[in-house]
Amino acid sequence: MEFRFRKTRRAAVVAVLALPIVLAGCSSGKTDGGDGSKTLTIDKTFDLKTADPGRQYEPTGQLVGKALYQTLVTFNGTDVSKVVPGLATLDQSADAKTFTFTLTGSPKFSDGTALTADDVVFSLKRVIGMKGNPSFLLAGVTVTKKDDKTIVLTTDKPTPALPAILANPALGILNSKVVKAHGGTETAADGAEKYLNQHSAGSGPYVLDSLNLSSKVVLKANKNYTGDKPTYGRVVIQNVEGATQKINVQGGSADVALDLSGPQAKGLSSSVKVTSGPSANVIFLLLNQNKKISKITSNPDFVKAVKSAIDYDDLVTLAGAGTERAAGVIPSALLGALPQADALKSDPAAAKAALAKSGYDGESVTLNFPSDLTLNGLEFPTIAQRIQSQLKAVGIKVDLAPAAVATELDTYREGKEIMGLWYWGPDYPDPSDYLAFTPGDVVGLRAGWAKDADPAVSALVAKAAAGGSEEERQANFEELQKALNESGPFIPLVQPGNNIAAKSSVTNVGYNPVWTLDIATLGSK
C-alpha cells in the first residue's frame, strides 16, 4: 500500500511539473468571467430538474432562477415578510381581487431587447398553461395587458397572497420573442424547455453559460443587466454532498457550502464563516382525527396528552445549530407567525392527566415517517426515535413505521397515517399557504380533519382568508394558530436550522426562504 501511494504521488508531481511544458502551443479549456473577473464556486446538493423557470419548483431551481430571471415584485434580502417592487410597482384593490402592475425603469433582456408588458403576459400565461409544477401558483388568476407598461391580474376570490406569490423565481419574466422562436407556447404543448436548459432568456443579473442537471451549472454576468453589476463575473454551482461540502469549503475549492447540517456546521476552520438561522421549514407531527383510522388519536384528550408530553426544547437541541422552536404552523420569517410565548408547552404531569382522561390503555400507536428524508441536514428517523422515547416517558407506546419517502407520501396524502411526522416548506412566503392546515383543506384532510370537524376553527379560517391590512392579517393568523395549537391535530415541532458556510472573503451572505441565496448581491473583501 505504501509503495502504491508513493507511486501515485510521484506520478502526480510529474504531471504537475509537466503541465506548463506541455501547455505551450495547445488550446486551453479553461474559462473565466471573460473580463478576468472573479469566479464564485457554490456547493449545493442538487435537486435540479430544469432551468426553465416555468417548470422548476425545487430549491436548486429557485437559486438558479433568481440569478437568471427577474420578477414583477420581489423581496429585499432575507426579509420575506414584505413584498417590494421588482420589474414593476403594484397597485392592489381593497378586495384583493385586482392587481395592477406598472413596469418601471427600462429593463432589458440579455440579448439587449427591451422587456415589455407582452413578455410579462406571455411568461405568466405560459406558466398557467403548461400545467407544470409551479402552475398552481397562478390557479384562478387572469392575466391581461392594459398598455405597453401596465399588466392587470384579476382573481375570482380575494387573493392577498398574490404579491408574495409573484416574487417566486418560477414566475420570472422570459423574453417572449426568443422563447416563442424555440417552441414556447402558452399551452401544455410548450417545447422551449430544451432551449432554456442551454440558454437563458431573461433580464436577471446572470445568463446561463452551461447546465448539467446532475453535476454543474455555470452562470456568467449578463452584460445587458440594468441593475447593479454583480461582484462575481462567473459562478459555478456544483452538485456536492454535505460531508464533501464541508471538506471543500475548508479546503478552499468551494467559496460557499449550502447544505451543512447543524453538527457539520460546527468546528469549521477560522477562514470559514457560518451564517445560521431557522429555515422556513416546519417539522410537525399529525394525529389522525378520522375514527376509522384510529380511535386513539382521534380522541381529543389523547391529542392533548401528546402535545404536553413532547419535550420541545430537547428537539431543538437535537436538531443543532440555527434551529428554532416552531410556535405555530407558520414559520417565524413570515407575516402571521405566532410569538414563541404562544407555543405549546411541555408538561408531563398534564400529559399524564389527559392520558388518564382519554381512557388510553397502553395500546401501541403507529408513527409513520419518511426514513430517507433529510431536511437541512436533519434526518427524520432521528426525530422519530426521539419522539418515541419522549412519549414513552408518559406511558404512550409508539411503534415506528419508517418507509421510503416516495412510498410513504402516498399513505400520507391519502390520510391513512395514524401518526405522521412530516414537514411543510412555504410554497410562497404568505400565511395563506398555511390555510392548508385547516379542516377540510389539503393537509387537514391528511390528518382526517374533515370540513365540518371544528366549526370554531373554520370561522377563524374564513376571517384569515379574507385579507385586510398587514396588521389585521397578522392578528387573524395569530388567532387562527392559537386555535390550531389548542384543538388541531397538528403539533408544530421545530424549524431546523439552515447553515450557509462561506469563506470569510465572501460578504453579504444571507438565507432567503424562497431562493436560499441571492448570488448577485454577494460581495467580496
Binding site: P134, F136, S253, V442
Partner: protein, 354 residues
C-alpha cells in the same frame, strides 16, 4: 468421381468450433436481454408508491389538471401490459423514454453518466489486475511465509473497509490535509467540460486539443480510482493466490520445474495461463460491479456517474430512469459475461468443445 467428404466428428455441424461456441453464447445473451427487460419493467412497477406524487410537488399533485398532463405525457394512464409493449417497442428504436426527473431522454442522460463511471471503473480495474495478480502470485509462492501473511492482511483490509468511509478519509487526508489530490468532481471549477464525443473527459479533451483540460480530468480521476482499486485489489489478490496455489500442485508445473526452467518462465507461461480462468471470472464480476454502481464513492467525489444517476432516479420514483439504469446494468453484465465466456473459449480449448 468425388470422394465422400469426411464426416464431421460428433455430428453434422460445420464451422470452426470457436465460432460455433461464440454464436451460441451470443444468442443466449440476446434471450437473456429480453428477460432482463421484462424483469426490470415488472420490478420497477411493483414498487409501492406513486410516481406522480414523487415527481410533482405537494400542491401540484393536488391539481387534477397538472396530474392529468403528467400521466398523459409519461403514458402512465395506460394499462401496464400496454405500457410494457410500448416500452419494448421504443427500446427497439434505441429509445429508453423520458426521465421524469431530468425531463431529458434517458438515453442522453445515460450517455453522460455511463462514460463518467467507465472512466473510473476502467482505471480501477486495470490497476487492480496489475497489482492484484502480482501480489496474489507473490503470496502463493511465499505461502505460509511473512510476505503471504502480510499480503493476506492487506487484502482483507481492502475488502472489509467500507468504500464510502475509505473515500471520505482519502478525500480528507489527500485533498484537505496534504493538498496532494484535487477537489471533488470531474474537473476543477475553472474548466468547462470538453465538447462531448465519447463522454470520457480524458479522451474528449485530447480530441479537442485541450491539454490542460486533459491533465485536470486525469488529475481528478486519481482519488476515485485509488479508492476503487484498493477494494478490488483485495478481492483479486485472494483469488489469484488460491488459483495459483492450485496450479502450482499440477503435474505439468512440477515437470517444468524438474526440467530446470527458470522461475519467470514457469510463472508466465505455465502458472498464470493455468490460473487465468478462475481469475478471469472474478475480474469480469469485479468490473461489472464497478461499472454498475459505485454509488457511494461517486457520491463522496461528486462524480456524476451511473451510480449517482441510479440513486437519483430511484429516490424520485423516476420509472424510465430506473428502467434505463436497470437495463444498462443488465447489458453490462451480459456483455462482460459474454466477453469472459469468449475469452474462456479462447484460453482453454476444452471449454469451446464442451
Amino acid at each position: 468421381m468425388r470422394a465422400p467428404s469426411p464426416a464431421v466428428p460428433g455430428g453434422a455441424r460445420p464451422g470452426h468450433p470457436f465460432a460455433r461456441y461464440a454464436a451460441r453464447r451470443i444468442l443466449t445473451s440476446l434471450l437473456l436481454m429480453v428477460g432482463v427487460t421484462f424483469v426490470t419493467f415488472a420490478l420497477t412497477n411493483l414498487v409501492p408508491g406513486d410516481p406522480v406524487a414523487a415527481a410533482l410537488g405537494q400542491r401540484a399533485a393536488d391539481d387534477p389538471a397538472t396530474v392529468a398532463r403528467f400521466t398523459q405525457e409519461y403514458g402512465l394512464d395506460k394499462p401496464l401490459p400496454q405500457q410494457y409493449v410500448t416500452y419494448v417497442g421504443n427500446l427497439l428504436h434505441g429509445d429508453l423514454g423520458v426521465s421524469t426527473t431530468t425531463h431529458n431522454s434517458v438515453t442522453s442522460d445515460l450517455r453522460e453518466a455511463l462514460p463518467a463511471t467507465i472512466e473510473i471503473a476502467f482505471g480501477a480495474i486495470v490497476l487492480s489486475v496489475i497489482i492484484g495478480v502480482t501480489l496474489g502470485t507473490i503470496a502463493a509462492y511465499r505461502r505460509g511465509r511473512t510476505a503471504d501473511h502480510v499480503l493476506r492482511l492487506v487484502s482483507l483490509a481492502g475488502l472489509s473497509v467500507p468504500t464510502f468511509w475509505l473515500a471520505l478519509v482519502a478525500y480528507y487526508v489527500l485533498y484537505f490535509k496534504m493538498h496532494l489530490a484535487p477537489s471533488s468532481g470531474r474537473l476543477s471549477a475553472d474548466f468547462n467540460a470538453p465538447p462531448q464525443v465519447t463522454g470520457l473527459y480524458t479522451v474528449d479533451s485530447l480530441l479537442a486539443g485541450q491539454l490542460d483540460t486533459f491533465l485536470d480530468a486525469a488529475w481528478h480521476l486519481m482519488l476515485p480510482v485509488l479508492v476503487l482499486t484498493l477494494y478490488t485489489v483485495g478481492l483479486l489478490t485472494r483469488f489469484v493466490r488460491t488459483a495459483v496455489l492450485e496450479v502450482l500442485d499440477q503435474d505439468y508445473v512440477r515437470a517444468a520445474r524438474a526440467k530446470g526452467l527458470p522461475t519467470r518462465t514457469i510463472v508466465t507461461s505455465y502458472v498464470l495461463r493455468g490460473a487465468s480462468i478462475p481469475v478471469l471470472t472474478v475480474v469480469g464480476l469485479a468490473f461489472g460491479s464497478l461499472l454498475s454502481g459505485t454509488v457511494l464513492v461517486e457520491s463522496v467525489f461528486s462524480w456524476p456517474g451511473i451510480g449517482s444517476y441510479a440513486y437519483q432516479a430511484a429516490s424520485h420514483l423516476d420509472l424510465p430512469g430506473v428502467m434505463g439504469v436497470g437495463l444498462t446494468i443488465g447489458l453490462i453484465y451480459l456483455l462482460v459475461n459474454l466477453a469472459v465466456d469468449l475469452l474462456y473459449g479462447f484460453l482453454d480449448p476444452r471449454v469451446r468443445l464442451a
